[in-house]
Symmetry: C2
DNA sequence: CGAAACGTTGACCGTTTTCAATTACAGTGG
DNA sequence: CCACTGTAATTGAAAACGGTCAACGTTTCG
């Protein structure tokens, strides 16, 4: 008798929870393994459940450019739903698990089920919002200001190291910025690796 | 007799071209004028036709944070279609023209017209793709590499100064990087403020 | 208890930013 | 067609900044 318990059986986030099970495939990739290649005909839209995959594009100039590093919770290849071929490779950066949602099924569902479409639009809209915010954050030139804004925006929830990664700074620079802000009275230390911004004026 | 000719009568990009005219409002804003405020009930989804507007959020810490600077061609407040209030102010950064698409009408159209939904999903997907690429680009630490990748990706279309802005670099640093790349034979100068990348090996 | 990972700080060094100055065009009005 | 003016393109030099390396304290967990 086989006893397989699906660990990490988090429910799919909307709108994917409304897809019938048989149209959802699970892909287990080992680090370095390829999910699809540039030029392949798109077969699915993917959601990273665990791990991380890199989307890498081969430019005409013979250069490899990483377009996106999708982590748990991210979807990828959305635009490929409307395209005849993937425009980049997808390679696991480490052992990963992804869900694949059949392309034709997703398109059909969009055509037949307005609720699904709306939920998808909603998801994409929220993501856009998040990316724009992040882009603006990265546009802040000074590490100190960047850290302060991110802090005030509640980005420091996990470790400072992750926080630093989100900000595009080294963790050391982040610690220094935090220390400096505290010293200037613009932030407060509330525990080990825990800080909060202080209201202005 | 009044003679008003609608200048700049570019057709709306899909999927907005399928909205009936009477549900599309045109807003002319002067620099500094407010389109909506944080907390207002969302009435529409907007498309910037000319100019630029800033989305500014007031944090609990009493700080103003710019979340996004929407330029011509950008849409904004997509997520507000699904929300009870705008979560930021929208203020014109200079004289601007925007189209407003009635929120209820957009939602209704999504519910009744699958083609519209799909076109919207498509648009959002493409934008996501673009943002992710930009985010990856900004993650490249070295100015030289960043400039090269952006160049190979065809980002230098206008002035080098704009280009530099997109890259999050000073224009001087950008010029220096370009000069250096040319000198290394990794790029070629094709005219005043005009360059192109050279294929590797 | 010891390993492992995070937190924190200091020092050194290469890069970028900034400030300044110069050159090259493009458009405007003689 | 030329001087005039404003903006873009470049380049140089000094100063500020963030990355990297290194060392050490702290907390967690088996």
């Amino acid at each position: 008798m086989i006893l397989i318990i699906m660990l990490c059986d988090d429910p799919l986030p909307p709108p994917f929870d409304s897809l019938p099970d048989h149209l959802v495939a699970m892909h287990r990739l080992q680090s370095g393994q390829t999910l699809f290649r540039q030029g392949d005909r798109p077969v699915a839209l993917f959601l990273v459940q665990r791990g991380a995959v890199a989307l890498i594009r081969h430019t005409e100039a013979g250069r490899k450019v990483r377009l996106f590093r999708a982590k748990a919770g991210d979807t990828l290849a959305e635009a490929s739903l409307f395209s005849e071929s993937y425009h980049c490779d997808c390679i696991a950066g480490r052992d990963s698990i992804l869900f694949g949602f059949d392309k034709a099924a997703v398109l059909a569902l969009m055509a037949s089920n307005p609720e699904f479409s709306m939920a998808l639009v909603r998801r994409l809209s929220v993501q856009l919002q998040a990316y724009r915010r992040k882009l603006e954050l990265l546009a802040i030139g000074s590490a100190k200001e960047r850290v302060l804004v991110a802090l005030a925006d509640g980005w420091l929830s996990g470790s400072v190291i992750e926080f630093a990664g989100e900000l595009g700074l080294s963790h050391e620079a982040t610690y220094r910025a935090l220390a400096h802000l505290v010293q200037q009275g613009r932030a407060r230390k509330t525990g080990r690796g825990r800080y909060c911004a202080i209201a202005e004026r």
